[in-house]
Symmetry: C2
C-alpha cells in the first residue's frame, strides 16, 4: 500500500509546520483581523475534483499560505474583540498533538482508560478551582460529576433531555406501567415548556426546537441590568401554569452573550424553592459559557455558591481559558439523570468493566458515541499556567474592559456606555438627539471599524437599542490595543459628525 | 501576564512532541493493544487539585509516558481489530496542527471564510469520489450539499430533527395558522415513529430518545444476511399505520455494526415509492458510517446509485479513511430542511453576508453553534494519498478480511464462519454440539484473545448467537498480523478443547 509520508518525512513536515505556526503567532498583528475575501473566493483556486494520484507534500503545505490564510479571520489577533474570545495557548496546542496521536473513539472506559480517568480528575480540579459546590464533584454526596462536551449548545441540549425525562418520569410515577401512564406521558409532552431569559443564548431555543418542546422567554429589563429576576420568573411560571402548560427547564445565565448580564440567582432559587427537590420541580441549568472562567478570581467566588441550588452548570474553557476549541465543561449534581436519559447498551459495546459498573462510560453523558481526548489540553493548561497564571490572564481581560470603559467615559460628547465593563465585556453607543439617530450613528460607527480591518467587534440589538460590544478577553490584547481602539472610535465618530 | 511558554519555547517543545509521537508510531507494536490498568489507576498518581503555581514543562510532558501511555488502548496498533477502526495518518495529524493554530469557533462564513468554503468544496470532491448521486452536491438540482459533523450520532440526530419538522409541516400544511393547526401538530408529534433495522446502530434509538419520539425496529433474518428488506419494512409500516402511528424516518444501513450487512436499498425504495416525494413520505437516511469508505472502490460504486432515492447519507472518514477522529461526513438532498429545522438568528450573529444569503452558514446545518476546521484534514488526506492511494488502503482492509475468512475455512473442525468477509469485517464462532456449547466456547475464546494483549477484537450477539467480530480496516494491519491472529485462534481453541 502506498503511504504518502513515512515517519521520517512526518518528523520533517510536522516540524516545518511547528515553525510556520510559530511564525504565524509572532506576526499575527500583520493581518487584517477579519478575512478580506469575497464569497466564493476559494472555489476558482481549487480543482473541480480530488486528485487521482498523490500530490507532493510541499505543494499541499504551501497552499496553507497561498489559499487558506487569506480566508482566515484571526481569532487570536489582539484586534479580535468580537463575540467572545476563542482562546488557545501553546500548551493546549501540544496537548492536541498528543490527543490526535492517541487517535481513537474512546466511547467507553476500556477504549482508553486514561481518557476517561483524566477527564473525571481534571473536571474535579476545575470545579474546585471555580469554587463550585461539592454537589458537582464526582465523589460528592449527590453523585454528580463533570464531563467535557464540544460546545455549550451540546451541553444545554443534553441536560435539557435529562431534565425532560426526569420531569416526565416523576410526573407519572404514581401511575402503574401501562396504557394510562403512556397516555399521560404523551399528554404532558405536548405541554412542556423550556425557558430562558430574553438574554439567554440562542442555544436554549435551538435545544427546545430539537426536542420539539415549547420555548418561552422570561423578560429582562434595563433597570435590572438585563438580569433575569425571580419575580419575573415567578410571573412567567404562573402564566404558563394558568394555560395548563408544564415548565420543566430553565437556562439561567452567568454572563449573557449580549451584555454579560448575570441573572439574579438568589431570587431565582427563592422563586423555585416551593417545589425544589420535589416532583415537578424546574431543572435549572446555569450557562456560564464565557464568564464562568472569571470564577477563577477570588472576588467572583460568591457567584458560584448559589449553584448549590441548581441542577447543572457549564462553561467553555475554550472561550476564555486558553484550551483551544473545542472544550465545553458541564457538571451535573446527579449524573443518574443523564445516564437514565441517554444510556443504550447494544451487545457490541458491552464489556466486563462497564457491566460491573466499575467505571464511568462518558458516552452515556452525551449525545455522540465517540469522544475526543479533550481533558489532556485542560490538564496541560492547568499545570503549565497554574491557577495563579490563569487568574492573571483572566484579570488582564477584566482590567482591559474597565480601562476601555474609563476611556469611553472621558468622551460623553461622542460615546455613551450602554452596559458597564463586566468580565471584560463593555457595550456602548454613539450619542445623538433621538433613539433613531443614536441607532443610526452607532451602526455607521460599527461598520467603519469593521471596514478598517484593525479590529473585529460585534454589534447587537437589545430591547431595540443598537449597541457595539467589545470583549477584551482574547489573550493577546494589551493596554496599547485598547488605547488604539479608543482612538479609532473617537476619530471615526468625529469624522462622521463632520459629514452629517 | 505570566506566559508559561513563549514562541521559542513552543518551537522546542512542539518539535520534541513530534519526535515522541513519531517514536510512538514506530514502536506501536511493542504495546499490549488494550490498556492493562485497573479502574481508578490514575487518581492516586495525580494531586488532589490543580497546582497554584506553574509546573515546569518538562515534568508535564514527561507524564505522557509515565501516566497517560499506560492507560491508552492503541487504536492504531496492527493488533486493533475491534469495533471499527479509527484511522489517522500523518497528513491528517499535520492538518490538525494547522486547524488548531487557526483556532476559532467558525460558526458562520465571516468567522473564517476558508473554513466554510473548503468544507463545501471538499464535500463535493468526496461525494464525487464515492459516486454519490448529483442530488448530494452543493450545486446539484435539489439544493443539497454536505457538511462535516463530529460523529454519526450527531449526523443522525440532526437529520432526524429535519425529517420530523418536514413531516409535521407537510402533514399540517392544509390547515390555516392557528389553534387547530397547533393541536393537530401536537397530536401528530405523539404518534411519530423513527425506524431502523434490528441491525441499525444504537445511535438511531438514541436520537429518537433525544427527540422524545417512539423508536421501532424492522426485523432482519439470517437468511437475508441480516439485511433489511423492503418487504419487512412494508409490513412494519402497515402495522404501525394500523395502530394510528406515524412512521416519519428510517435509518437504512450500508454496513451494520454487528456484521457489515447492507440493507436491500432497491426493495426499500420500492416499498416507499407510493408516497415518495409526497407529504407523509418517510425520510430515509443511509448510515454508512464505516463501510461508506468502501464506495471509493469501483466495484462498490453500484451501491451508491440507489442513494438517489433517499434523503440523506453519512459516513465517517475518521473510521476507515485516515482522517483522524473526529470527522463525520453528512450529505442531504435538500439543505432547506436542515436550515428550516435548525436556523436561529439572534442579533449578535447577524452580518451582511449571511443576511444577504451570499454564503453558507454551517451552524444552521448542525446542533452546535461553533465548528472545528475539520475539512482541512480531509483536504490533506485526499491530496496526499490521491484517490488511488485511498483505494489501495481500502483494498488492503478488504483483502485481509477475505484472507482471514479463507484461513478460518481451513479449520471447520474448530471454527465456523458466522458472516463472510465484507468490507474487511468477518465474524465467526467456535464449533460445538449445541447452540449453548457454541456460545460458551466462543465467549471463552474471545476472552482468551483479549487477555493475551496481542489483539483487540469485539464480541457481539446477533439473534441469540454469540459471535466474534474481526475488522481488518486499521491502516497498520498486514497479512502477517492476520496470520498471527489465525494461529492464535487455532492454538487457543485447541487448548480449550483439551481442557474440556
Amino acid at each position: 500500500m502506498a503511504n504518502p509520508m513515512n515517519t521520517d518525512q512526518f518528523r520533517v513536515a510536522a516540524k516545518a509546520a511547528v515553525d510556520e505556526i510559530a511564525n504565524y503567532y509572532d506576526n499575527i498583528s500583520d493581518h487584517r483581523v477579519v478575512a478580506d475575501v469575497e464569497p466564493g473566493y476559494l472555489r476558482p483556486l481549487l480543482p473541480a475534483s480530488a486528485p487521482l494520484d498523490p500530490e507532493p507534500w510541499e505543494s499541499i503545505q504551501a497552499d496553507i499560505q497561498s489559499k487558506i490564510l487569506p480566508g482566515i479571520t484571526h481569532w487570536q489577533s489582539p484586534g479580535f474583540m468580537a463575540f467572545f474570545p476563542c482562546s488557545g495557548s501553546y500548551p493546549a496546542a501540544i496537548a492536541e498533538m498528543y490527543s490526535n496521536a492517541f487517535n481513537g473513539a474512546h466511547f467507553n472506559w476500556i477504549c482508553s482508560p486514561a481518557v476517561t480517568e483524566l477527564e473525571t480528575i481534571v473536571m474535579d480540579w476545575l470545579a474546585q478551582a471555580l469554587g463550585l459546590p461539592e454537589c458537582f464533584l464526582s465523589g460528592g454526596p449527590t453523585h454528580g460529576g463533570g464531563v467535557l462536551h464540544g460546545s455549550a449548545s451540546e451541553a444545554i441540549l443534553t441536560v435539557m433531555v435529562a431534565a425532560r425525562d426526569k420531569y416526565l418520569n416523576e410526573a407519572t410515577a404514581h401511575l402503574p406501567e401501562g396504557e394510562e401512564k403512556e397516555e399521560e406521558t404523551w399528554r404532558l409532552r405536548s405541554k412542556l415548556v423550556a425557558l430562558g431569559s430574553a438574554g439567554a443564548h440562542s442555544s436554549t431555543k435551538k435545544a427546545a426546537q430539537v426536542l420539539g418542546v415549547r420555548f418561552d422567554t422570561v423578560p429582562v429589563s434595563e433597570e435590572n441590568g438585563f438580569s433575569m429576576t425571580g419575580e419575573a420568573l415567578a410571573k412567567k411560571l404562573d402564566q404558563l401554569k394558568a394555560k395548563g402548560l408544564e415548565p420543566f427547564y430553565l437556562t439561567a445565565t452567568l454572563g449573557t452573550t449580549d451584555v454579560c448580564a448575570v441573572d439574579d440567582f438568589a431570587s431565582i432559587a427563592k422563586a423555585l424553592a416551593p417545589r425544589a427537590g420535589k416532583p415537578g420541580e424546574v431543572w435549572v441549568h446555569v450557562d456560564a459559557a464565557y464568564a464562568g472562567a472569571a470564577l477563577l478570581l477570588d472576588e467572583n467566588k460568591p457567584l458560584a455558591k448559589p449553584m448549590a441550588e441548581f441542577h447543572s452548570f457549564n462553561y467553555n474553557p475554550h472561550k476564555w481559558m486558553l484550551t483551544t476549541f473545542d472544550c465545553s465543561a458541564v457538571w451535573v449534581r446527579a449524573r443518574g439523570h443523564l445516564i437514565n436519559a441517554l444510556s443504550i447498551k447494544p451487545p457490541y459495546l458491552r464489556n466486563q468493566y462497564s457491566d460491573n459498573e466499575l467505571v464511568t462510560d462518558y458516552r452515556d453523558w452525551q449525545i455522540p458515541l465517540g469522544r475526543r481526548f479533550r481533558s489532556l489540553k485542560l490538564w496541560f493548561v492547568l499545570r503549565s499556567y497554574g491557577i495563579r497564571g490563569l487568574q492573571a490572564h483572566i484579570r488582564n481581560g477584566v482590567t482591559l474592559g474597565e480601562s476601555l470603559e474609563a476611556k469611553l467615559a472621558t468622551r460623553p460628547d461622542l460615546l455613551t456606555i450602554f452596559t458597564k465593563a463586566r468580565f471584560g465585556l463593555v457595550s456602548f453607543r454613539a450619542t445623538g438627539d433621538s433613539e433613531e439617530q443614536i441607532n443610526s450613528r452607532t451602526e455607521k460607527l460599527y461598520e467603519a471599524i469593521i471596514a478598517s480591518g484593525l479590529f473585529y467587534l460585534t454589534s447587537t440589538v437589545v430591547n431595540g437599542h443598537f449597541a457595539i460590544r467589545v470583549c477584551t478577553g482574547t489573550a493577546a490584547v494589551r493596554e496599547e490595543h485598547v488605547q488604539k481602539l479608543f482612538d479609532l472610535l473617537v476619530e471615526t465618530v468625529e469624522g462622521q459628525l463632520k459629514l452629517e
